[in-house]
Each structure stands twice: as C-alpha cells, then as structure tokens.
Amino acid sequence: MTTITTSTTPRRTLLDVLQKITSTYLLRRLARALFSIWLVATITFFVIRAMPGSAIDILMQDLTAQGVSADDARNQAAALMGIDLDQPIGGQYLDYLNNVIHGDLGHSYRSAGLSVTKMITTVLPWTLFSVGLSLLITFVLGIALGSIMAYKRDTWIDHVLSNLAATLDAVSPYLIGLLAILFFGIIWKLVPIVEMRGAMSSGMKPGFTMAFLADIFKHARVLILVYVLSSIGSWMLQMKSNTVATLGEDYVTVARARGLTDGRILTAYVGRNATLPLFTRLAISVGFVVGGSVLLETLFTYRGVGFLLARSISERDYPVMQGVFLIITASVVIANLLADYVYGWLDPRVRILGGDN
C-alpha cells in the first residue's frame, strides 16, 4: 500500500512532470495526438527522402529524362521538396520538420510555382464540408435508427434494419459509390451526374447566399448520400447493442418504477448512456470516411483533398502527395482529439479515472 509522503524538495523532476502528463486524461490525449502527427511526418519523410529509390530519386530521374542536366535536376528536386541535399540526413530531417511546423510543404512539381500549402487550402473547405456534414447526418440518423432497432427488437422493423445495416457495413464505399452513379444517375436518371461534377457550378459566387448554399449542396448531395450509406451500418448496429445493454441496467428499471415518462427515460437515461461509447467510434469513423474520400471524390470528380491526393498520385507529384497525406492525417488526428475532449466533457467518469476503457 502506498503511503502519502510529504516531499521536502519542492523541485519537480522531469519524471514527475511526465507522470503528471500521463495521468491526466486531456494532456495524455494531446500528447498522443502530437505524437501521431510527428510519427506520420517522420514516415513521410523517410518514404520521400531516405529510402532507396525514394521519391526524390525518382523526381531527379524524371527531370534528367526531360533533358535537365544532372546537377540542375538535383537542385530543382531539392528546391521543390524544400530539402537541402548537401546536409547530412539528420539535418535534412530537422529542416523538414521545421518547414512542416511553419506550414511550408514545398512546391508542386507538375503545376509549376504553386505552393502545396496553397493548393491544399483551396480544396480543404470542400472536404471539410462534405465529410463533416456526412458524419453529422450519419451520427444522428445512426443513433435514431439504432435506438428504434433496440426498442422494437425482434419485430420485423428490427430484422429489416439489422440486415440492411449488416449489408451496408460489409460493402466498400467505392462499390456503393459506383452503384449510386449507375442507378441514380444512369438507369433511373434521378440526378444529372455530369452537371454535378466539381464542388460548385462555374460562375457561382461564394458567400452566404441561398443560391450558393443550394448550389454546393446540389453538387455534394450524392457524395454525401454515399458517405452516409457506407458508414451508417456500423453506427446502427453499435447503437442497437449499446441501447439493449443500457435497457437492462438497474437504473432504468428504477426510473420506470418511479413512474417517469418513456420520453424522459429515453433521452435522459437510456439515450445519453448508450450514445457515450459511440464518441470513441467517431474517431475511427473519421479516418474511415476520409480514407474513403480519396476514392469517392475521384469517382464523383469532387475537388476536395481526396481528389487532390488521387491526382497527385496519378501524376507522381511527390511534393503534393506528401503534403496532402500529412494534412489528411493531421485533420483525422485533430478530429480524434476533439472527439476525446467531447467524450471527457460528456462523461465525467473518464476524466476522473483517467482510463480509456
């Protein structure tokens, strides 16, 4: 058993500080998020720079093949990636990290002179809009349908919805996207697929006008539908099992015995407790949806971050590829961090115990 000893030395050692960080829920989450971003930045650096036959070697080969002399190719490649090739690898790594921290991700190789940061900031809002709205719809709808399944369990509604959820959960977003285009756009002709390409119609002025909002929604609606369809299955099933488990808890029985209305039990007792664990799933779902955006934005020609990544891959534009990948990961990690904070705020037990499971 530990006894409380009053330390005579007021100075705190590094170990104490580290222990403080790991024992505090919010700080630990922050440390984890920073570590993830650092890890990904490091992986990209070594993939782009340090591995044999790495991106920078290929870039130099490409430039030489276009008739640039070997020295020039080396200098150009180094300038595009923002790397000083004369430094030892450790120095290059530090330089690279320093650039990333300052938001300098190098310059595009195919679209000459365009900075990668600029390219990303022009497309990022579209992905944030479409993915964010989809997640919101999925979360709300998934919780609603999941609760219905739990309340009506073993009725025909539950069987239909459960099978639907399991099926949607098993099919990849890419196939759902193809089917959506094929059926909605071509066979049933419900939506004009060709007109919907891009994030907005040409000539449309961005701003908080009804016409603009209607236009961007028109362009994103099928994409959002596909995002929702491809991730709602797992939410519904999870919410159903959480609700069923919560309905069996003693405090629900007590609440019933006290004569509380069904509506109050549903919102304050069952709903809140069953929804809580879903916030940790939100983290995984963000990564899943963003990962899917690479394929879906390409399929729908929706100019967001995923589209940019796919294009840079097909053009072998390494600086853009590296930058977009880093931004995608950073946004997923930050979304995770937010989900963790919201979870800690909603569920005081997590903060006090400091544990994750």
Partner: protein, 295 residues
C-alpha cells in the same frame, strides 16, 4: 507403412467428421462449397477456358443473352469468361493478406496480453496511435512510392499496415480467456507461453480468429480494387478489380447498356465475400464442441 495407412485413415475420418458437422448448418455448408468452388474456378478455370485474346467488335457492351450469360464488355469479350479468369489475383491477395496479418496479430496480441504491464501498455498505446492514421491514403502513398509490381508484395504491405487493429481484438479475447481454469492449470504446469498460446488459447478463440481473418480478407479485396481505380496497381492481369475500373474508365457509367460489365465483377466480389462470411459463422460449431452437442 502401417503407420502411414493409419495416419491417412484418421485424417480422412477427421475430414469426414468436419464435413458432417459443417453439413448441419445449411448456410455454413453453402458458404464452404461456394468458397471451394470459387477457389477451384479461379485456379483451374483459366486452364480450361483461357482468356480471349482479340476484341469482338460486333458484340460490344451487350446485355445478358444465351451466348453471353453475363453480357459483354467494351471490347466485346464475354464477361463471365473474364470473371473466371480474373479470380486468381483476388483470391491470392485475400488469402495472403488475411493469413499474414492474422498471424502477426495473434502473436503480438496474445503475447501482449500475457506479458501485461509496461510492455502491454506501450504496445496498446502504439496500436491506438496507429489506428488514428487513415490507412487507405497511407497505403496509396506507400504503394506508389514503392512501385509495387506483384500481388505478393501488395499483400505483404497491406498485412503490415492492417495487423495492429486485429492485434487489439486478439488481445482483448486473450484477456477474457486468460483467467479460465484450464489456462491457469496450464500455467501452473509451466507449459511455456508459446505452447499455452498456440495449443490452449488459439483453439478456443478459433471462430473469432476465423471471422476476423475473413473481414480482413474482404478489406484487402476492397483496398486492391481501390488501388486499381487510382491507377497505382498496374493492369498487368485482368482481375475483378481491373474489370470494374476498366469498365468505369470506358464510360460504362454513361451507358446503361453496359451496366452488366460493371455489375458482374461486383457481384463476383460480393458473392465471394458472402460465401466467406457464412462459412466463417459456421466455423464456430466446428471448433466449439459444446455448441455441437446442443444442436
């Protein structure tokens, strides 16, 4: 010689027993037969019904007909014949990635659960961090830079990226089994961790392992399809993923007549997945004798 005969005899008895247990579960039997059939067709089919080498201009993008059950594609080639010839890559990728990632996951996950303490905490913290990184973009970037050419390398890369999620699931399974009496007995007899894991624990979570492996297999198929669509994995051979993306690129999505060329390979993938899942569900009864007697 006598020993060998004995061995073969007992092997067949074991196979017959397994088959008998399987046949009790209708869905399981269906899944099992379908999986075997798809693997057979994918590997033997191309020898009997080799791919068409030339285009057939008169038969482009036709629907289903007695001559072409699943219609024809943008080159006028028979879709069914392309599906028979395009399964080998898909089946190989699925089996390799599934087996490899599960193997790493079982070893790391169960050792982590057994050792516990600091090692376990550190490993699980790393796994949690790994889970927040979006895998598909990472896979796409790595596959591009590494310029992967063959199916085996692709499977290895996917297994390396995917095992941590499985390891976490295996760990939690082992943690629930770890305190059972027979495991405690094995530990007291000092059997050693590897033997306890592979001889005592693994058989008891076999159905879980099988189901997870199968989900990993379908995941691998979809990732491969996605990589083909992005143009990262080369079009060297015509597998189902290549069929989908070739049809998409040839503007099938603007031509309702050609819907067959895209729906047929999709149906093949979904059928394979469905067969695998229903087979896996029934494995519970094969591995768990308690469920068997109650049927």
């Amino acid at each position: 010689m006598h020993n060998l005969n004995d061995f073969i005899g007992s092997f067949w008895r074991e196979v017959a027993k397994t088959f008998k247990i399987l046949s009790r579960n209708k869905m399981g039997l269906f899944g099992f037969i379908m999986v075997i059939l798809i693997i057979l067709v994918s590997f033997v089919g191309p020898l009997i019904w080799p791919p068409e080498l030339s285009a057939n201009v008169l038969e482009i993008n036709k629907g289903s007909s007695p001559a072409h059950w699943l219609g024809t594609d943008f080159q006028g080639q028979d879709n069914l014949r392309k599906i028979v010839n395009g399964g080998k890559d898909i089946v190989t990728i699925a089996l390799l990635t599934g087996a490899l990632s599960m193997l790493i996951a079982v070893v790391v996950g169960s050792f982590s659960a057994f050792i516990g303490g600091k090692v376990d905490n550190l490993l699980m913290e790393l796994v949690n961090i790994w889970l927040t990184i979006p895998k598909f973009p990472l896979l796409a970037v790595l596959a591009t830079v590494l310029a992967l050419k063959d199916v085996v390398m692709l499977s290895v890369l996917m297994a390396i990226l995917d095992w941590p999620a499985l390891a976490r699931q295996v760990r939690s399974q082992v943690l629930t089994l770890k305190n059972r009496e027979y495991i405690e007995a094995a530990m007291m007899l000092d059997f050693g961790t590897p033997r306890i894991i592979f001889r005592e624990l693994l058989p008891n979570m076999m159905s879980f392992v099988a189901i997870s492996t199968i989900f990993e297999m379908t995941h691998a198929i979809y990732q491969q399809t996605g990589l083909v669509f992005l143009g990262i994995v080369p079009y060297s051979s015509a597998n189902w993923g290549v069929m989908i993306s070739a049809a998409e690129r040839r503007g099938v999505l603007f031509n309702p007549q050609a819907a067959w060329s895209i729906l047929a390979p999709m149906a093949a993938i979904v059928l394979f997945q469905l067969a695998l899942v229903s087979f896996a569900r029934s494995l519970d009864e094969v591995f768990n004798p308690r469920l068997r007697t109650s049927v």
